[in-house]
């Protein structure tokens, strides 16, 4: 088997199944009455937290690839990204079904009135076009450059997700702030990665000009 085949037929299926782990664990515990006295709340929180975790994992792929040099890593990016969307769908469904019982009027009021719902809804909505445009065909149709710009929206979605979590807790903000810190590192790396060559170029440019300046000074006057 070539390396590419190995990824396609072995590694990817493994990752696929591992990513279903949180759902399997949650379902098992729900069916066996192992959750707390308020299982619906547990399901809401677990699906929410796993959406955020998968977003973080997705955003870790590129920095990890650049640092480790293992270019094949990017082949897993779409799958974990879609898993973030998948858990986001479960989380959103839990909310409209188990929390609001499809009361559309109440849901709309909630989205309009409650900032933490508004921003959570925004985080989820942003993921929808990204999921839709994730197939090879649509990626090609949209075009690489435009696709990349569109998919940078995932940064916004992740930021909204962290704020959603932060605005939800009553007093103990340690956990949402931890996610905020992780996200800051992941986005900070990207900023640094973007600026690094530009700064280097700017430095090189100023060095050249200063050499030119000094060489001009040293030139003997005729």
């Amino acid at each position: 088997m070539t390396r590419s085949q190995l990824i396609k037929w072995v590694y990817k299926p493994i990752v696929f199944i591992v990513c279903l782990g949180p759902l399997a664990w949650l379902s098992w515990n729900a069916l066996n009455d192992n959750l707390s006295a308020n299982p619906i709340d547990d399901i809401t929180k677990e699906t929410g937290i796993w959406t955020l975790r998968f977003l973080m994992i997705t955003l870790t792929v590129t920095p990890l690839r650049k640092i480790s040099g293992w270019s094949q890593l990017s082949r897993f990016r779409r799958m974990v990204g879609l898993y973030a969307f998948f858990y986001g769908c479960l989380h959103f469904t839990t909310y409209i079904y188990l929390d609001k019982f499809f009361d559309l009027d109440e849901i709309l009021k909630d989205i309009a009135k409650r900032p933490f719902i508004t921003i959570g809804f925004a985080a989820f909505s942003i993921m929808v076009p990204l999921a839709i445009t994730s197939t090879d065909r649509i990626t090609k149709w949209v075009g690489g450059k435009r696709w990349q710009i569109l998919h940078r929206l995932v940064y916004v979605s992740a930021i909204c997700g962290v704020i959603h979590y932060l605005w939800l807790v009553k007093a103990d903000t340690r956990r949402p702030l931890t996610y905020g810190a992780i996200l800051a590192v992941l986005l900070g790396y990207r900023l640094w990665d973007y600026l690094r060559p530009r700064i280097a170029r700017a430095r090189a440019f100023s060095r050249e000009t200063s050499i030119l300046d000094s060489s001009q000074k040293d030139m003997p006057t005729v």
């Binding site: 379902s27 729900a30 707390s36 006295a37 308020n38 619906i40 709340d41 933490f116 007093a171 340690r174």
Partner: protein, 314 residues
């Protein structure tokens, strides 16, 4: 359906509750003996708890709604002194020692003193009260408390005419209460009631639950119960009762004044700034139910707030 209804399998079938209690009782008794503090229980030995509260005669303040299981009531708690997850109090309160215990009474009162809990309770007959408990987060339980009406205690303590409010304070023991090592709330936890609220016949000092001594996670050994207010008003593990002239500070109000007021009466028409208070999930039920004004105790308490703007005095 994903969620098993409570009727399918009683949790008592899953965990033999009697074994569980025997073990707990044994550990408690053994540890009390070990440190030589075997204070006599205020509960007779014969009172064994069962997971389901027996249907029987109901007192005038009791709800006839189905009582939640002992397991639900003792594993799903908010008691930030032991951590902020619902499961933290039951998991992290094992080291907490509710015996021996003293309650200090001070302030505008004729008989300021420090009482042993046994002496503090002794003059009164213990009652069972089946109350609804509505958490500010939007869930609720039906709990059979055992204890004494606060009004009886206050009458005996004889507050002076200057006493307009009653302030309560929780014990501060960061060694035994790991949540107190973190400053996410202003420790020690403090709460308060207006004097008429404190004297209301519903207001209750609980020392027991399901006919047993109060478990640590539920606020052992003595806690306040005000069923028409959000659960956090029911201050736990009380060590100080102070009669005061001015409205005392309360912990959640200090933490977020725009979200938690002094009164914190259950009110479906006044939303929490971040979520609706119109509905609640009764633990054990699948769909949410409507939240009732004053948690269904309007008949007993509404007159105390006549003429008050409840949107302002949330």
């Amino acid at each position: 359906m994903l969620i098993k209804r409570k009727e399918d399998i009683a949790s008592s079938e899953i965990t033999p509750e009697s074994l569980y209690f025997n073990r707990r009782e044994f550990i408690r008794a053994a540890s009390a003996f070990g440190v030589g503090l075997a204070a006599r229980s205020i509960f007779p030995e014969s009172l064994m708890a069962q997971d389901k509260w027996p249907k029987g005669k109901k007192g005038p303040y009791d709800t006839d709604e189905e009582v939640n299981s002992y397991k639900d009531i003792t594993t799903y708690n908010n008691f930030y002194e032991f951590g902020t997850d619902k499961s933290d109090p039951s998991q992290n309160s094992g080291r907490f020692k509710p015996k021996p215990w003293t309650v200090k009474v001070e302030g505008e009162v004729k008989k300021p003193a420090t009482y042993n809990l046994e002496d503090f309770i002794k003059p009164y007959k213990l009652e069972d009260r089946i109350y609804r408990m509505r958490c500010v987060e939007g869930w609720s339980l039906v709990i059979p408390w055992r204890g004494i009406p606060l009004a009886d205690v206050i009458k005996k303590l004889e507050p002076t005419s200057k006493a307009k409010y009653v302030a309560f304070e929780t014990i501060f023991r960061p060694d035994e209460m790991e949540g107190q090592r973190r400053p996410y709330l202003n420790w020690p936890y403090v709460e308060g009631l207006r004097m008429d609220e404190a004297m209301n016949p519903l207001t209750f000092l609980a020392v027991g639950l399901y006919g047993k001594e109060l478990p640590n996670q539920n606020g052992a050994p003595i806690r306040l119960v005000t069923p028409w207010k959000y659960g956090f008003k029911g201050i736990k593990s009380i060590v100080k009762i102070r009669f005061v002239e001015k409205e005392p500070p309360t912990t959640w109000n200090i933490s977020a004044p725009n979200e938690y007021g002094f009164y914190s009466n259950v009110n479906p028409d006044v939303d929490h700034p971040r979520w609706s208070q119109k509905t609640e999930r009764r633990i054990g039920e699948f769909l949410k139910r409507k939240t009732l004004m004053f948690n269904g105790y309007a008949e007993q308490v509404a007159s105390m707030y006549a003429g008050m703007d409840l949107k302002k005095n949330y």
